[in-house]
Structure formats: structure tokens, C-alpha cells
């Protein structure tokens, strides 16, 4: 254990791998000292684990309920920890399976929107001039659209479904990353290490990809993590409006919409998925805050 630690923290790494792993380990040590961020990290980790092992964790079938015996059982009923909904389905099992949908939405939006934002922002910032003008005005236009309304219009045009909801959210999610990446690029592009790379005959693509993107990446990752909560809420909102995941899929937003009809008499049906959304959003926010503290390049010694 101590040997691994010494190897990771060595001042004289002997291979590329050791240098890289050492850097990651140092970031982790830094991150670990932040209690709230660790709490957020654990929530997100739990979400990932629950999503992976959903079929083994869920005590009941999430889609099929017993309409004769288990309708609207309150929480803490025997065998139904969080109660059941109006169709006799176990809410806990539905939440566990719903975590897969939530995680898929979040992961796909991050995978689609982040590279687009990074590419547009760094290209605009690096080249400047008319490239900058065209790309940033395009970004402004997309930014001017209200997120949920554009997603609504998009889903309405393509038909409801979780895939279309993901595409719709991604389309509206990238402009803030582009702006952020552009701002970072503007501060980097005139620095000496970029000039030195130009003097080696490096192409613009190489400079952007290998030198500028790694420096923009950390602030964009932080921003994406902080936006995760918003993305989950937008997905839940679309689900709530019936334009995201379709029944009987156990999407959390759609579950709240289902429980709305009898909120007063059977409060738990809508509350439990609400709590799940709240917890996961909070987890991502805390994680994002912690990452900002660790990854901010200006804070590094």
C-alpha cells in the first residue's frame, strides 16, 4: 500500500504511465479532503451502481403490479418499502429501474453536448475573425431559445420518446460550453507555450486538440457536472409532460406525473420519485462544486 503510494507520488516518475497516474492520484487526494464533494461523489457513485445492478437489486417487477392486492399500499408495507402506485407496482423497484433511464439521459447528453460545445468554442476562440463571429452568433441564437420549449417543439416534431428527449436536450445544452471554451481559449491562445508549438510547425488542429482542449476541459467538465441537475430536471419535466419516456417505462418525471392525480390521498406515489430526483440533482451539484475546486487550473500550484 505505502509502496503504491510512494510510486504514485514520486517526484521522479520513470514512465509516461506513472506520471499520468501520479497526477490523477494527486487530484484525488485533493478532492478527498472536501467532505461535501465526497458526499456528492458517493451519491453519484451509488446512482451508477444501482443502475448497473438494477435487475438484481429490485425486489419486484417494475412494470407489472398486482391490481387486486397491492394497489396504493403506503410506504413501509410488508415487502414494499416505499409503497406501491395505482397499478400495484412497487415504487422502490420502479425507482431502481428508473435510475437507468436517468443515468442514460445524463450520460448521453454529456457525451453529445460536451464535444460539440468544446469544438465550437475552441475553434471560434482560436481562429477569431469571421469564424468566431459566425460560430458565436450561431451559439447566441441557440442560447436565446428557452431550453424546455425548444425541447418540447423538437419532441413534438419527432414524436415522444426518451431518445428524442435526449437529442432535444443535447441540442439546447451545448451553447454554454461553447461560450466557456471560447473564453478559456482566448486567454490561452496568445500564451508563449502556444507560440512555441506554432514554432515547431504544428497545425491548427493539433494545437486546438492537444494544447487548448486539455486546458478548457476541466472547466467544461465542472460546468457539465453542475448542469447535470438541470438536465435531469429537464428530462423529468419532459417525462412529466408525457413527451419523454413513455409508459410503462419507470422514468422518474413520468412517475411524478402519474402520482399527481391522487397526490392528496396517496402522497408517496409522487413524493418518492421527487425525492430521488432531488437527491441525484444534489449529488451532481456537490460533485461539480468539488471538481471546480480541484480542477481549476488557476488554482494549481
Amino acid at each position: 500500500m505505502t509502496m503504491t503510494r510512494d510510486w504514485l507520488l514520486s517526484d521522479r516518475p520513470v514512465s509516461r504511465r506513472q506520471a499520468r497516474l501520479g497526477q490523477i492520484y494527486r487530484t484525488w487526494l485533493d478532492f478527498r479532503t472536501n467532505g461535501l464533494a465526497m458526499f456528492g461523489f458517493l451519491i453519484v457513485l451509488a446512482l451508477v451502481l444501482v443502475a448497473i445492478f438494477a435487475p438484481w437489486l429490485a425486489p419486484h417487477d417494475p412494470l407489472l403490479g398486482d391490481l387486486n392486492h397491492t394497489r396504493l399500499l403506503p410506504p413501509l408495507s410488508e415487502g414494499y418499502l416505499l409503497g406501491t402506485d395505482d397499478q400495484g407496482r412497487d415504487i422502490l423497484s420502479r425507482l431502481i429501474h428508473g435510475s437507468r433511464i436517468t443515468l442514460a439521459v445524463v450520460a448521453l447528453v454529456a457525451v453529445i453536448a460536451t464535444p460539440v460545445g468544446l469544438l465550437v468554442g475552441t475553434t471560434a476562440g482560436y481562429f477569431g475573425g469571421w469564424v468566431d463571429t459566425v460560430l458565436m452568433r450561431l451559439t447566441d441564437i441557440v442560447l436565446a431559445f428557452p431550453k424546455l420549449i425548444l425541447a418540447l417543439a423538437f419532441v413534438a416534431a419527432l414524436g415522444p420518446g426518451i431518445e428524442n428527449a435526449i437529442i432535444a436536450i443535447s441540442i439546447t445544452a451545448w451553447p454554454p460550453y461553447a461560450r466557456l471554451a471560447r473564453a478559456e481559449t482566448l486567454t490561452i491562445r496568445n500564451s508563449d507555450f502556444i507560440a512555441a508549438t506554432k514554432l515547431q510547425g504544428a497545425s491548427a488542429a493539433r494545437i486546438i486538440w492537444k494544447h487548448i482542449v486539455p486546458l478548457c476541459l476541466s472547466s467544461v467538465i465542472v460546468r457539465v457536472t453542475l448542469d447535470m441537475a438541470g438536465i435531469i430536471l429537464t428530462a423529468a419535466g419532459l417525462g412529466f409532460l408525457g413527451l419523454g419516456a413513455q409508459p410503462p417505462q419507470p422514468e422518474w418525471g413520468a412517475m411524478i406525473a402519474g402520482g399527481r392525480n391522487f397526490l392528496v390521498d396517496y402522497w408517496w406515489v409522487a413524493t418518492m420519485p421527487g425525492l430521488a430526483i432531488f437527491t441525484v440533482s444534489l449529488g451532481f451539484n456537490l460533485l461539480g462544486d468539488g471538481l471546480r475546486d480541484v480542477l481549476d487550473p488557476k488554482r494549481q500550484k
Binding site: R12, P13, S15, D192, F193, A195, T197, K198, G201, Q300
Partner: protein, 253 residues
């Protein structure tokens, strides 16, 4: 070898036009060390940046072995001419190891035997292979500047442009880096063009020098002239006097 004729560099920021360099000419012979001195804002660094294509030239000619340099500069040009920057804290990418700093020029220019060349380059600047996989934040200022020198040397150029290579370092480290540069020039027959505001550094390093003020060349001197305080113009005389330190008369004036 390197010939600069009537070089003009103009920066336009909207309506503001700054004429940073206004018709500067000089010739650098092969194997020579040529100095450019002047106060801050005299355009001396801009001359270097214009030679390597980082600043736009608006007039005049720059030729290397009689051939005019194309704009933008060709990759072949960068094999012959490299530059060392002033601030070693700003000239190394904060997220790249020394290894990737040194291997990148090799892969861009299509050199072979990367491992061997990188270790040799580190050896040449007195760092040793133990530094290869460190990050810049694990190095001191002097060590960083050595890495910057290694990066410039690894492409085996003939001309090295030195933009105040020691002004960001403290005095003892300055001497180390200057001696390193001196040794490398002797070993490899390099040609230096060195910019500095420090006359002592220039007189230690350079055989000939050009004095610049407000973007204009004031006069060209031999090292012997500099050491013997034989200057033709008032400005150079003032500069020589200033570099000797403050005297009582300066304080009263």
C-alpha cells in the same frame, strides 16, 4: 546568413495603429551571436517575433541564406530557426510532461529515435533523464528554462532566437543559463540572435549588437566598443551610463 532589411511591423487595433518596428535593418553572420538591446517597448522582441512569423510584417524583407521567407513560414524553416521565450513559467504547457513537450516537435517534424533524442537533449542542457516524466510545476524556473532550451535544440536548428532568456530568473540561475547557452553555441556552432535590456548580459554573450529605441535602430556596435564605452549617439551613451548604475547626478537631475 540571416538578413533583415527595413523591417516594419504595424499592429492595428481598430482605429489605434501602433508602429512597433519602423525600418530596422541588420545582418547576422553564421556562427555569430548578435544582440539587440533597448528599453521596454522599443520593439526589440517584436523583431524576433517577426523573424519567426509570430508577428505580422508590414514592410521590408527578411531573408535566410538569400532566400526570402514565405508567409506563413514553412515547416522546414522551423527546423533551421527556433526560439527560446522570456518567461519559462509561461512557455511550457502546464498539463504536459517534459517528455511530451520534447517529443511533440519530433513527431511534427518526423524525426526518428525519439527516446534517444529526448534523453540526449535533457543531458545536453544538464538536466538528465530523471526529469523526463515530470510536469513543469515540479521544476524550478531555471530548470524550466533549460527544458525550453532543450525544446528549441531538439530540432537541431542552426539559428536560435533568444528573447530575454534570463530576465525572469534570479541572478545565480541567470549565470548558469547563460553559460549553458555559451557552451551549446561553442559545441554546435549555433547562431544566436539575442534580445535583452541588460547590457551586461549582451556584452557577455554577443559579438555585435544593435541598439533600438521607439521601433528604430539607433546604432550598431562591436563588443569592444561597448566595453570601451565608445558610443556614437546620445541615446546609447545614456543607456551605457544607466547600466553602470545610478549616480548622484542622476538623482539630482
Amino acid at each position: 546568413m540571416l538578413n533583415v532589411e527595413n523591417l516594419e511591423v504595424t499592429f492595428a487595433l481598430g482605429a489605434d495603429v501602433v508602429r512597433a518596428v519602423r525600418g530596422v535593418s541588420f545582418t547576422v553572420q553564421q556562427g555569430e551571436s548578435y544582440g539587440i538591446v533597448g528599453e521596454s517597448g522599443s520593439g526589440k522582441s517584436t523583431v524576433l517575433r517577426a523573424i519567426c512569423g509570430l508577428a505580422p510584417t508590414s514592410g521590408g524583407r527578411i531573408t535566410l541564406d538569400g532566400a526570402e521567407l514565405p508567409t506563413p513560414r514553412s515547416p522546414a524553416f522551423y527546423r533551421r530557426v527556433q526560439m527560446v521565450f522570456q518567461d519559462p513559467y509561461a512557455s511550457l504547457h502546464p498539463r504536459h510532461t517534459i517528455d511530451s513537450v520534447l517529443s511533440e516537435p519530433l513527431s511534427i517534424q518526423g524525426f526518428d529515435r525519439h527516446d534517444e533524442r529526448i534523453e540526449q537533449a535533457l543531458e545536453d542542457v544538464g538536466l538528465g533523464a530523471g526529469f523526463r516524466f515530470r510536469y513543469p510545476h515540479q521544476l524550478s524556473g531555471g530548470q524550466r528554462q533549460r527544458v525550453a532550451v532543450a525544446r528549441a535544440l531538439i530540432l537541431e536548428p542552426q539559428i536560435i532566437l533568444l528573447d530575454e532568456p534570463t530576465s525572469a530568473l534570479d541572478a545565480s540561475i541567470q549565470a548558469e543559463v547563460l553559460n549553458l547557452l555559451d557552451r551549446l553555441r561553442a559545441e554546435r556552432g549555433l547562431t544566436y540572435v539575442m534580445v535583452s535590456h541588460d547590457l551586461a548580459v549582451i556584452s557577455h554573450m554577443c559579438e555585435r549588437l544593435l541598439v533600438m529605441q521607439h521601433g528604430l535602430a539607433v546604432e550598431e556596435l562591436e563588443r569592444a566598443d561597448l566595453r570601451g564605452q565608445r558610443a556614437q549617439t546620445d541615446y546609447t551613451r545614456k543607456l551605457l551610463k544607466a547600466s553602470a548604475g545610478y549616480t548622484k547626478e542622476d538623482a539630482q537631475a
